[in-house]
Amino acid sequence: MTCSEIKQALAKQFDDSLALTITPEMAGHVEGCEACEAYAQRLALLSRQIVAHRSIPVPSRSRRRKARHSPRGHWGLRFGAALALGLLLVTAFVWRPGSSPLNLAAESNLVLTDTHLDGEPAQTIIYQLPEDQNTTIVWVYR
């Protein structure tokens, strides 16, 4: 049998039944031909993948929710955004003497929940909950 005949026969088997049988007539050629062997192996793997996919487990809702909120792939971005915001704030305090959280809040969309502020903060802490879009900024006064 030629390579073309072998490939045609294997393809027909797959299309008819998703199963493969290497007949003794084919075996002699397939064992000595890298291309045909690779083709037969690929089809056999595909057939196994389809069978395996039939019994794919249905994940529970909680598992799906967990996977959806997985920080993988987002942490870098969020950390970067938080860092950038932190640097921006620090720059604002360093380069704009007289700026304070009160001034900053007045100029932007910040909502201050504690207004016992006096002078400039000694430290700025920014954190962001993984499942929350809001960023919380804490100014520390000494």
Binding site: D15, L18, R42, L46, Q49, I50, H53, R54, V58, R61
Partner: protein
Amino acid sequence: MSDIITKPELAALKEGDPDAVSRLWQELREPSLRLAYYYTSSWDDAEDVFQISILKALDHLAQFDDNRNFAAWFRRILVNTCYDWRKEAWRRLRSMLSDVQWRQLSAPEGGSVTDIQGHIAKLPRRMRMVFILRDMEGQSVREIAEILAISEDTVRVLSMQARRKIREAATEDI
């Protein structure tokens, strides 16, 4: 096709018995989710498709003929909801993209889908459903013809074409 629901159970459903609805929900959920996942490539979308399907089924239960096969009837609702989901998903996606982005887009591909799921996702709508019902769900040609309201010959042809396309996609580098 063996049915999943007895006549007394169907009567309870038609009367709006919440326990019967709950039992039906449990009975249908897993196989329906799996079928919808094969079609949509997303468990979240599959859950939406299932929930919409069951609501549609409950809405139209009064018109369901008790002598018909409930499983096949529900499958048909599920399949149609999958088709509608795809239209809706594309409509939503289109409204979010610029014309340039839209032209660059060829086919939706989930990043986390397996190779085989990726191959299934690229099949045309009806061919994909035939492949799912026959080769993933193990339904007979006659059952698929009934669910999709097409001839058995068409099912056979679409099934062979689907397998061929998947085979060609998986071996294109050899």
